[in-house]
């Protein structure tokens, strides 16, 4: 059993008042309480960006790595101890710019890990430059005349790369985000949850108001149909931003196919000096 108070650390959140990160943090803690995620069964990995500060405010054993690199760290953790629930907190810059390569490959490998993208379509921690999910024409400190690039679509990219669970939520809807986090965690295989997270300080376009106005909840959508999921993932615009689970299909997880960990995690067998006499024989 996990109680909310047990997840509190000595550090107070240092995000801006109204930041979507605060809502994501709240949703995650609610989910952790509901599902009993604790220091006996869970590890968190975060990258660098505003999102990464979450490790300081959430009392679950964690690894805060380098910008763009949380996915390979999480992969290593899961392979070493597949009994752990492994959560990756990452940002749009962290995951889709600096770590874009890792994102594509993590999706296609279907490790049983859960990825939350704090997607605020801006670089907040470095005080407001365009990110991979910023709209075309978007004005920021790095694109004063408007963003010449077109945004990457994290959901379409994840589906194309082979992720087996792909969903989107809006941070301000804490209850739905928590529910989606639980669904993502319960899915066997890699789960990508893109969380629309307004940056109240630097992003004056994609605001709470904008998302409340323009999102809608997916209904009558077949989550087992990859083509339909892909079509839906391409939808974006006024009143046209779908929220919910786009794709949820069953494929063998990476870990389930490794005979070395079929019975128990790697770390359950303490490393000892191995008798390699038979291997030496092969070289005689």
């Amino acid at each position: 059993m996990t109680e909310l108070a047990q997840l509190t650390t000595k550090c107070s959140p240092n995000w801006c008042p109204g930041c979507g990160d605060i809502a994501i943090w709240g949703a995650y803690k609610n989910a952790a309480v509901q599902k009993g995620w604790d220091n006996g069964n869970t590890a968190i990995v975060a990258g660098i960006g505003c999102h990464g500060h979450i490790v300081n405010f959430t009392k679950l054993t964690s690894f805060e790595g380098l910008h763009g690199r949380p996915l390979p760290v999480a992969t290593g953790i899961k392979l070493a101890n597949n009994r752990l629930n492994v959560f990756v907190f990452t940002g749009d810059g962290d995951c889709l710019a600096e770590g874009g390569n890792h994102f594509v490959h993590a999706c296609r490998r279907n490790h049983n890990i859960t990825v939350f993208i704090h997607d605020n379509a801006i670089y907040g921690l470095t005080t407001g430059q365009t990110s991979p999910t910023s709209p075309h024409g978007y004005k920021s400190k790095s694109t004063p005349e408007g963003n010449p690039d077109y945004p990457v679509n994290p959901l379409a990219l994840a589906i194309a790369a082979g992720a087996t669970f792909v969903a989107r939520s809006y941070a301000g809807d804490i209850q739905s985000t928590a529910n989606m986090m639980i669904k993502a965690a319960e899915h066997q295989g890699i789960s990508i949850l893109d969380i629309l997270q307004p940056c109240v300080t630097f992003n004056k376009e994609l605001t709470h108001g904008y998302y409340q106005e323009n999102t809608y909840k997916l209904e009558n959508h077949d989550v087992k149909n990859k083509v339909e999921a892909f079509k839906k993932s391409l939808e974006w615009g006024p009143k046209q931003i779908p929220l919910g689970v786009f794709l949820d299909i069953d494929e063998p997880t990476y870990e389930s196919e490794l005979p070395q960990i079929a019975n128990n995690p790697l770390i359950d067998n303490d490393p000892v000096r191995k008798d390699v006499t038979k291997l030496f024989e092969e070289y005689t």
Binding site: N39, G40, E64, G76, Q260, R273
Partner: protein, 574 residues
Amino acid sequence: MAFKDNLFSVKVGGQAGQGIKSAGQVLAKVATRSGYNIFTYTEFPSIIRGGHNVTQVVIGERDVTAPLTTTNILVALNQDTVNKHMAEVVGGGVIIFDADKRIDTSKVKKGVNLCPVPLAKFAFEAADLELLENTVANGAALALLGADLAILTDLVAEEFGKKGQKIVDANKKAATAGYDFAKKEYADKIKDVLRKKDKVEKKMMISGSEAVGLGAIAGGLQFAAIYPMSPISNILHTLAKYQEKYGFIYKQPEDEIAAINMTIGAAYAGARSMTSTSGGGFALMSEGYGLAGMTETPIVIIEGMRPGPATGLPTWSGQGDLQFVLHAHQGDFPRIVLAAGDIEEAFHLTMKALNLAEKYQTPVVLLVDKNICDGDQSYPVFDVSGYKVDRGKVTREKKEDFKRFQLTDDGISLRSIPGFGNYFIANSDEHDEEGFSSEEIDNAVSQHEKRMKKLATCDSQDMEVPQLYGPEDADITIVSWGSNKGSILSALKDFPNVNFMHIVWMNPFPTTAVKNVLTRAKYVIDLEANITGQLAQVIAEKTGIIIADKFLKYDGRPFFPEEIADKLNSVLKG
């Protein structure tokens, strides 16, 4: 020269794709099984078919540790091999080539015996395949070496057994045809080089990459993520092959950045972990290198050097990465850097590196190079009985007020892993004793000092002084490192008045020991395979001693014992 009297060199050359390396390995293994020692040296370009490949097998009664500039038997599977290597063949030596391919041997010097053999004809007769030319040639070469045909045919059966009886029979037929032909036609050229000994000690013939892989397995490796790159790819091939049997995981990542971060993740979660790469891949690993230092995560990095910068000479050897691994990454963190001098050292140091990483909770780099990775040498089976896995200060018990980065006298804190109730953050930001991000002055200073203290602890508890080969009192002292060791030792057989200091520990550095030897030395030569004398720079930095005479080579080729002998003679005559 005396050291050559007991050595015999066979060189096989041809196009990439003609099975040059495998022919050389078969020859070397027949030699090993006949009771002799071998050393192989392979030169090949970074292409799969068409370029010029050669493998040299040096055979000796006792230890053979280096390549040679001379050749006793040249097996030329094409014209190019004759043109490029005929000058190396010694008087009384032999060139074997295809009798029917109009190979031009008009420029071969007098005194070298020409031994044409119908290689392609026998290969076709054996299996309608020209691919077996190398096997026919091996048969002929081994006949001239006085080897036992049965050793060759047994080996062929083992090598090709998995491919089916038909392939085995074809290869046996090809080998026998070449052997019988040479034995009959060139009976007067046969030497007793590989006459099977009455008593043959069982020996391995193993490459450096295979030795690193086996060392890792013997040392209790649990996880490795390695992206392919010359010259270390055979390390991952060895690990991938045995992972299920020995219960560890090898993962092929998308790049070297992922490789080191996966390795860090697995180590953080409690698995004994390593990665490997060459200089270019290590450039990508640089950020992860310091991440492991900052988060105090134990990882081993095997860095197989080849000449840079950039893609450089991808399939050749060099020692240009010493300063790079000693300094890569922003800021300071404790890094342990070792360099292996040969295949056996690479094996034992891989095992040691796994222990050092876990004891000091920090990255350990083991430098090897292409000569070590791709060369084969014969050894009695390695003795691992003295090795014990040391995981250092680590617990899976739930502790009250657990502080992962607690300040300690030796700089090493109690480590725990996720999933056992102990809360902590492995944090790339500067952090306090629990791992929370902290920018406070006292904390920044104390954590930084705590981490760096580990080097002083390692210096006093684990660092080893360099071995001095040869007499204490010598006219010349050679200082060197890495794969130069074999060639230096080979050359030193003719110089009883020269000694050699072989440096393995690069960081922490055995400053006092090195200083003592160099201060006593009458004349010092620094010998390295890079253009700036990178070890000499370390020595100058640590001891204040400037070595004036640097014997440097940076053409991708190994030091040959003959070159070292020439250098020593020129200094002695000085």
